[in-house]
Amino acid sequence: MMELKVNGRVHSVDAAPDTPLLYVLRDDLQLNAAKYGCGLGQCGACTVIVDGEAVFSCVIPILLLQGKEITTVEGLGSIDQPGPMQRAFIEEQAAQCGYCIPGMMMRAQALLQKNPLVSDEEIRRTLEQNLCRCGTHMRILRAVRRAVQLMQVATPART
């Protein structure tokens, strides 16, 4: 059994230590926000936050995550009470097919937690690692900029 702390809760999971975090999140913990895209750490659909840093959960074995804080989109807020990042994406209607959006939100969240007054240039540079095939990039950028505003007035989400 391995212990994983996800969105503030400690879970005991019955998985081999070399299992990628993404599989455990989706298959064992029913946290389905993070998506399987390429499985090679190249598309960003699986992005979650580990100790404040955005990581590709599809290539991180859980043996590297003992004692670390993992945050997924589920940890940013709920359907009833969306956090500022989630509200911003809803208000800007930033999703087309939506598959990349949880990864986009988590990478943007990690960026804004480190630097709340981030420049457009930095947002673009940081999100470059996450791919969107529908072409909603302009809406995603607007949503992140809106999140910058919302976070300055909202109570920070639990991360």
């Binding site: 230590p17 070399d18 299992t19 990628p20 499985g39 090679l40 750490g41 190249q42 580990v50 100790d51 404040g52 840093e53 990581v55 590709f56 290539v59 991180i60 074995p61 043996l63 590297l64 995550l65 670390k68 240039e121 470059e128 690692q129």
Partner: protein, 414 residues
């Protein structure tokens, strides 16, 4: 004595000129200059991160302090707009700016002095026809007395010889072209040759491996540790594309070099490759035989075939099998798969620096050129886990003992 030294160190200013009109330069000369500037990798140092090309301001870390590159656009007040051809040639050949100040050898005039007059003229034509950008020089951060420029005359006296490239009649014209470019304009040795305590390249250790901006430039002479010995065609491909299936990916300070080389004439890459491979010398039959074995193994998909016993008790083996093997043992050649680490110079090389950088930071997508990419593990690997991984990789794939002081290298990279 001091007076004599000052007299020796003193260089006159070259008269400023009215910035020449771009229309006054021959177009084919400008085009040739563009190719030469790419071979010389000028933009890599003379462009700040997110800055305008050639406008300078990039910090160059040296063991002595930080030097900021200068603006080499033809802006009259902050660039080289008022530099005549004579002033430009003197800077390239003698390391003295238009005002007569000695330049720090971070600007590799110890190499550029070998460039022909015709090529310096073409470089001048190219740079003087770029868009002028106003960007004042950033002050260098050097401690006293290194910030006293006349002292550089003493450094030059010890280590700098003005000169031209002299063809070696024992070799053909391709080799000589390669030697001319590698030793002069392309200044390969500026990174690949180790330096002495005063920052000068060690003459007797040509291409023996050096350090550059916290990365290691591997030995590319007879001491090369490349698991598969380089041949000219592989090197030519690598310089053009930034990667080679049997050698891996150019990253760190070599990344902008190959981005620039992507656009230079093929004949020049053929020449540089021919010359550098000749410096590496002929590999021994034993080394070639080992390389053939590695190449054959590397093309097979062996991911997941690591013995489970290794998983149970070796943290490094477990991390490798879980996080690395799915790409690095996929049997998929570069650029779509990860290189089999038995072929990787980062694992077999003389320093662990680059391996640590790549494991921590990955190979980010650049958006500029098509190269293999890799996710970084900085936020998920602890120092202890990284050390275990490096220990495992070094033993399994290089069959060599762990590098000395790896803990310090990890700390430096963090």
């Amino acid at each position: 004595m001091i007076a004599a030294f000052l007299a020796f160190a003193w260089r006159s200013a070259v008269e400023p000129i009215e910035p020449p009109a771009a229309s006054g330069f021959d177009r084919s000369l400008i085009r040739h200059g563009a190719e030469l500037a790419a071979l010389g990798d000028c933009s890599a140092c003379h462009t700040a991160r997110e800055g305008r090309v050639f406008a300078g301001g990039r910090p160059i870390g040296t063991p002595f302090g930080t030097i900021y590159s200068t603006n080499i656009t033809p802006d009259p007040s902050t660039g080289i707009g008022r530099w005549s051809q004579v002033a430009f040639t003197r800077a390239m050949r003698e390391g003295v700016d238009r005002n007569g100040r000695h330049l720090y050898p971070a600007f590799p005039y110890d190499h550029f002095t070998l460039i022909s007059d015709a090529d310096i003229k073409a470089l001048y034509a190219y740079l003087m026809t770029r868009q002028p950008i106003q960007a004042p020089a950033h002050a260098n951060e050097l401690p006293f007395p290194l910030n006293v420029r006349p002292l550089l005359a003493g450094w030059k006296l010890l280590f700098f010889r003005e000169g031209r490239y002299r063809a070696d009649s024992g070799h053909d014209s391709t080799w000589n072209r390669g030697a001319y470019l590698a030793a002069g304009l392309a200044h390969c040795g500026a990174c690949h040759t180790p330096r002495n305590r005063l920052g000068a390249e060690k003459d007797n250790r040509l291409f023996g491996g050096g350090d550059s901006e916290n990365w290691h430039a591997y030995a590319i002479n007879t001491e090369s540790q490349s698991p598969v010995p380089w041949d000219a065609s592989a090197l030519q491909f690598y310089l053009r594309n930034g990667w080679h299936a049997l050698h891996g990916v150019a990253r760190g300070p070599m990344a902008p070099v190959v981005e620039n080389l992507a656009g230079v004439p093929e004949t020049d890459l053929v020449a540089i490759a021919a010359y550098v491979v000749s410096v590496m010398g002929n590999p021994t039959p034993a080394r070639l035989q080992r390389a053939a074995g590695l190449t054959a193994t590397a093309s097979r998909n062996t991911a997941g075939s690591s013995p489970q016993s290794a998983l149970a008790n070796d943290v490094g083996a477990t991390i490798y099998a879980a996080a690395c093997a799915s790409c690095h043992e996929s049997g998929q050649p570069l650029p779509f798969g990860g290189i089999n680490l038995a072929l990787s110079i980062d694992v077999s090389g003389e320093e662990p620096t680059n391996l640590i950088h790549v494991v921590l930071d990955g190979l980010p997508a650049t958006g500029e050129v098509q190269i293999p990419i890799m996710p970084g593990f900085a936020s998920t690997l602890s120092d202890r886990q990284l050390l275990a991984l490096l220990t495992y990789l070094r033993a399994r794939f290089a069959g060599k003992p762990l590098w000395n002081d790896v803990g310090k290298s990890i700390g430096d990279a963090r």
